[in-house]
């Protein structure tokens, strides 16, 4: 076996790790209702961006969902919750989460991970009329719907490319 053969697997492991941060494709096995229900009012958020315990809290209060009513019948709710919990992120990686208002369900835009990834984003960008909310991933990440968050795909409100 020559050196290239030995290094190839190592190299692919390296690539897999490096690709992770901007690759948030939905893991296989999503119940159909995940896309049609949880993707109706906003992007169907990647399960990895919240910890299992936080997903359980989101799913326990769908009738009072950040000021909206997103309630589901029990079997659909259970199927979606199982999928989210199974594919949830590691609390250690996400860091402490948070809520925007007291009594509200946890927000994936409030985790330490999310804030770290976005520390260079000017605060005014979040409130821009084309964005309205940090949860509106697709306003800046043009390929968010297909789970891709590569830096070169980012277009800031007003049309400026992030990388230019």
């Amino acid at each position: 076996m020559n050196a290239t053969h030995m290094l190839a697997p190592l190299f692919s492991i390296f690539l897999a790790c490096a690709a992770q941060a901007d690759d948030l494709r939905l893991p296989a096995g999503a119940p159909p209702a995940f896309q049609s229900e949880c993707g109706a009012c906003h992007l169907a958020f990647p399960p990895r961006l919240l910890a299992a315990e936080d997903w359980r809290r989101v799913m326990a209060g769908l009738d009072r969902h950040y000021g909206d009513n997103a309630s589901l019948d029990a079997p659909t709710r259970r199927a979606i919750e199982a999928y989210l919990v199974e594919n949830a992120g590691k609390p250690r990686k996400l860091g402490p989460g948070g809520t925007a208002a007291p009594g509200e369900a946890p927000r994936l835009t409030a985790t330490a991970w999310f804030k770290r990834k976005h520390h260079e984003v000017p605060p005014a960008s979040w409130r821009h009329a084309e964005v309205r909310s940090p949860a509106n991933c697709a306003a800046c990440h043009k390929q968010a719907a297909s789970g891709s968050y590569r830096e070169r795909e980012i277009v800031m409100p007003g049309g400026r490319r992030w990388q230019d």
Binding site: C41, H42, G67, D68, N69, R132, S133, N136, A138, A139
Partner: protein
């Protein structure tokens, strides 16, 4: 009057998912006619319903807050910013083709904007308006 909705949903569920906007409109008309035999759906009343500032929700006072002034154009959710495809079947063939989905969104959004359920007459007016256009 409410008893008819499950029957209608059942009917459409059995005869495959797909319905036409006209079929769904006809269902609501028939239901409205039960409590008011002289009822006729009105695109004009539908237009008023669409733009009326109910003000129950500060962020979404009217249907047009999220759907824009023109149902043929589409809009965006005032809170999440997500793009909303046009409501007008002429601009978006998926609209008003699945009664269960139509019922779900009337239930949610009438609750949100009007603070109550919409009547069958209001639903028929609303659909007449989005089919006719502005």
């Amino acid at each position: 009057m409410k008893a008819l909705i499950p029957v209608l949903i059942g009917l459409f569920a059995v005869t495959a998912q797909a319905a036409t906007p006209n079929e769904i409109l006809a269902g609501y008309r028939a239901e409205a006619a039960k409590s008011n035999p002289r009822y006729q759906s009105s695109a004009e009343l539908g237009a008023q319903l669409y733009t009326h500032p109910f003000g129950v929700s500060a962020k979404m006072p009217s249907c047009s807050s999220c759907h824009s002034d023109d149902p043929a154009r589409g809009g965006s959710h005032v809170v999440t910013g997500k793009a909303i495809q046009p409501l007008a079947p002429a601009a978006n063939a998926e609209r008003f083709s699945d009664l269960a989905k139509v019922e779900k969104w009337f239930r949610r959004n009438c609750g949100e904007v009007l603070g109550r359920e919409c009547s069958a007459a209001e639903k028929a007016d609303f659909i007449s308006f989005v089919m006719r256009g502005r």
